[in-house]
Symmetry: C2
Subunit: 334 residues, 2 copies
């Protein structure tokens, strides 16, 4: 094994089809990493069940949706390992062993989990599996000896928890089996929703999906707000206050044209309708090949599932090798 090799673990909870926010926040960087390292991309069905226990059909359907999105944007199953979390049962066993290395109190004080509990309005009914999911993530990461995990700033406590477990395991069992991971902070800033909310999110209903149809895209773009102070065409506007420009900055390839538009908007005389028309062209150009490929994959779910199962077998081999070392370190190699 090449010890210096970068091993990346990344993935998504299958809670819905992916949108432009996902593209900027993670898919784009996965495309950049593709081919430069060993990249494992996990569809975390078991983790999605921690707060969707009573909605398993939704989780299952979204496993396929997410996989279609991966394939549609150009993530290649030959250059990456796509896998379904629950098809790698070694992850469950590792999770149970790691649970013994973390105190109950430590779990209670995980800042990411605390924040999510508030967001999800669990009240007094937090599922135990939700409280323990950082341990499950530590299993996901360490099973593949991933040394690089792309995360948002708010997820850094998850990497810290993983590395605490790695240290505790290696110390407790006097070995070097597990490998520390580094969080790779996402360099893209969060994409706002089409309603101007700070976050594009399925639950807020303010998304442009990667598979968005042309007609629906048009409707959505038409609705997005301009600079609220830009009340008439000839008045000067501020691109920093106009959502269209935020999107253009993220997706427009013609940087010169974008600069001209921004200057014009600042000076006055450029209507929001014109900017949005251009944004529509840019997004349509970006989304149309993705939409086409996505439809092809979506029309053949059996093929998509085959790809996921093949990847899951490859992931399983790797996790089984780590588990075998873990069991030996724990004297469980009967």
């Amino acid at each position: 094994m090449d010890k210096s090799k970068k091993i990346v673990l990344t993935g998504d909870r299958p809670s819905g089809a992916l949108h432009l926010g996902h593209y900027l926040g993670s898919l784009k960087s996965r495309l950049e990493l593709q081919g430069t390292c060993e990249q494992l991309i996990m569809i975390a069905d078991a983790q999605a069940l921690t707060d969707n226990a009573s909605n398993p059909e939704k989780v299952r359907q979204n496993v396929l949706e997410v996989a279609c999105d991966y394939l549609a944007v150009g993530l290649d199953p030959k250059q990456n390992i796509f896998f379904i979390q629950s098809l790698v049962p070694e992850l469950f066993e590792l999770t149970l062993y790691y649970l013994n290395l973390v105190t109950w109190n430590r779990l209670k004080h995980n800042p990411t989990v605390k924040q999510e509990i508030t967001q999800k309005n669990f009240g007094e009914s937090v599922p135990a599996g939700f409280m323990t999911y950082p341990i499950s993530q530590a299993a996901d990461i360490s099973a593949f000896k991933a040394n690089c995990v792309p995360v948002g700033q708010d997820q850094m406590p998850m990497i810290e928890q993983t590395n605490e477990i790695v240290r505790k395991f290696n110390t407790t069992y006097n070995c070097n089996v597990l490998v520390k991971a580094e969080g790779m902070i996402t360099k893209f800033s969060r994409l706002p929703g089409i309603d101007g909310d700070a976050k594009m999110s399925k639950s807020l209903g303010n998304c442009v999906y990667l598979g968005e149809e042309a007609a629906s895209l048009k409707k959505k773009i038409r609705k997005i707000p301009g600079d609220p102070n830009h009340t008439e065409i000839n008045a000067p506007g501020d691109p920093d206050n106009a959502l269209s420009f935020t999107y253009l900055r993220a997706f427009c390839q013609d940087k010169q044209k974008l600069e001209e538009l921004e200057t014009h908007y600042r000076k006055g005389g450029l209507g929001d309708g014109t900017v949005k028309q251009y944004l529509l062209e840019v997004l349509e150009e970006f989304l149309s090949p993705i939409r086409k490929r996505r439809a092809e994959f979506a029309s053949d779910p059996a093929q998509v599932m085959r790809i996921l199962k093949e990847g899951s077998l490859r992931a399983r081999e790797k996790a089984a090798a780590t588990l075998s070392e873990v069991r030996a370190a724990m004297h469980l190699n009967y």
Copy 2:
């Protein structure tokens, strides 16, 4: 499948060799059940690690010790399924799924766990795996669709927790996959230690082990206290206050002789030394064949491990069948 068939799950944490207290409390009833039902006997190595994470070699060694004890008392691997918990990884996966069906608060309020936390002096450092072990037990029981679980009165909350999960699972996933279990309260009362402590326990150092050597047995019996009010031979004594009689009542087959001794002790004129000498004969007769068989098995650990591995494969088949139904109910049957 015969729907009326009794399926029993029982077992031990491998925390030490078994003693007379284990014989009375569980092994004896397992011998009675042997052949009348499907009895699965689990050596809970993974559960032992929940509070022995840093002492894995002790756990591993005790897996063999406990298995030798089973075989020595006459539990037959053909009539029962002996298995090692961690060799049935389906149990880990079930545990993780069940964690989503139990609230964090519910776990905190399990009376058995609360009591054990105090006993074990965990303070603020309760391992998360210890808090979640009732869920792991629910997986052990339900994986085999066990409908009968021998327990002490203090463990009834574990059965209740299991049945809560069974109900919640079947309701959530609209199925009848999991089966309710009944606790079978042990009919034998707890055997006191040779120092008179209410409980014979390895950690209290007051045990007579099933493999106890004759010389060491003699020494231990000599030390056990008589009725403290029976200060001289001719004074009347109370058998209810003399530990030798407690042991004789449990192990002496000659009930008539025992009654005569009790009457004599009450009247006065029977010395504690004489009672203990008889107890020694009774225990030596009971333990000598067990000791002999135990030594034979202990001299061939490879054979014992073979028995455990064969049993674990049989147990795995059963657990895998249940897991497959569980996954189908959860729409995870990709």
